[in-house]
Subunit: 254 residues, 2 copies
């Protein structure tokens, strides 16, 4: 066996309690913080009426489960705030975190009628929900929307292959450095500070994303800190001290 099976997350929620996801009517795309990042951006401002009509707003507390691997899909989502993880689990508990979803990210990049991941909120999260049916109709009426979905699929594919390279051929330190740079870039796009990364997920989540154990993730953080690549007191708020030196660590092909 290559890796210890992570202890399964509790079947529901975290911190003992599980609030049910809260549904609210959609309030309009105009003030949406994620609009410029999401598939919705492929539609001009004036043509969001159709979207708004179909959309529902959804709030998930940290630890809540949005969807289970293998369960039927009824909706697609756009994340407006917070963070979620997409998880696949083997029968014996070995876990892969396929990705972390943030504002603007799209949930529903599959042709399957079933969910391909279990999707869990890491922090308190808000989403826009669109029924699958309505989505199909919307895409026919607004081809740009379909193009937007395709574009997100292409990006997801590229990210997935980049992570394959990390998993297949890079050292723990390189994987973690690459991960931090990627998260920093994405959070900077979303208005975060350039050299700060928020990591609300646990070290186990990061490990299951990078193909490492918790211990190796922790040790790699310690090494990055000791050599002054990063600084942190709280393990969930990382300051990148030398992004360029970090980039040199990852030495990609560009």
């Amino acid at each position: 066996m290559s890796n210890r099976a992570s202890p399964q997350a509790p079947p529901q929620g975290v911190r003992g309690h599980t609030e049910a996801p809260k549904r609210e009517p959609h309030v309009g795309c105009d003030g949406c913080l994620a609009r410029h990042l999401s598939v919705c951006a492929s539609l001009p401002q004036e043509e969001t009426r159709d979207l708004e009509a179909a959309a529902g707003k959804l709030r998930l507390p940290a630890g809540a489960t949005l969807a289970r691997e293998g369960a039927p899909r009824r909706e697609v989502y756009t994340v407006t705030s917070g963070m979620l993880r997409q998880v696949r689990v083997l029968a014996d508990g070995r876990r892969l975190v396929a990705g972390f979803l943030q504002a603007g990210d799209f949930i529903g990049l599959t042709g399957s009628t079933l969910h391909r991941h279990t999707i869990e909120a890491i922090s308190d999260t808000a989403l826009c929900a669109f029924p699958l049916q309505g989505m199909r109709a919307l895409c026919e009426r607004h081809p740009e929307l379909g193009a937007g979905v395709l574009d997100h699929a292409f990006h997801a594919l590229d990210a997935s292959e980049t992570n394959q390279m990390a998993l297949a051929r890079m050292t723990p330190l390189e994987r973690l450095a690459g991960f931090l740079l990627d998260m920093a870039r994405r959070q900077h796009q979303r208005g975060g500070e350039e050299d700060r990364v928020e990591l609300p997920m646990t070290r186990a989540d990061i490990g299951d994303h990078l193909g490492l154990t918790v211990e190796t993730v922790s040790r790699s953080f310690t090494r990055l800190r000791r050599e002054d690549f990063v600084h942190f007191d709280d393990p969930h708020h990382i300051e990148l001290r030398a992004p360029d030196r970090l980039r040199a660590l990852v030495q990609s092909t560009g």
Copy 2:
């Protein structure tokens, strides 16, 4: 360093000589062996005129390079016969084989104006080529075609994440077993025998796909053979002796 850098393939071709790719006029989709598998299948038989008009036929000898990572993209392709590999390389030579392409597979699943992979023919290969421009026009005229591309992107994404799970959390034996089963399934869809797999690629290619060294791939084959999961004399023609026992090895979530 996690892995030895594979010696770079010769810049052009293999076996000393490199024939230039041969271009021929497209002869029509009717007799195409890959039609039912490819994006072209999303168009009804009668509406292939447009496709045929735009298409060119391309033949590559084994070892030839179709595209280089980072080079500008001008066309998309559908594979009609043979096999190719999609490769990404780091500056120091560490290599990832992102996938093996066979009849019906689509080349061009990216929104980038540049190629995301170096693409090399493993065996003699035939492709249909469509200029990028024409493709856009075709997709607007036939929305089903765009949907077909989206569907291929979804499948590629799923395959990529399945491989991520293998790379992150599975043993060499499990990775190889999963790989053989996947190749067998795909070749069976294409009319191959159910329990035979053709592996024209080298052990190094398989290693760079599964995140292993040549030696470990070879040893894993030997183990599978010793325990009668597979049988082979020629390392490129594998007979699966007990697909069900192999599947049990891979114990997925379904």
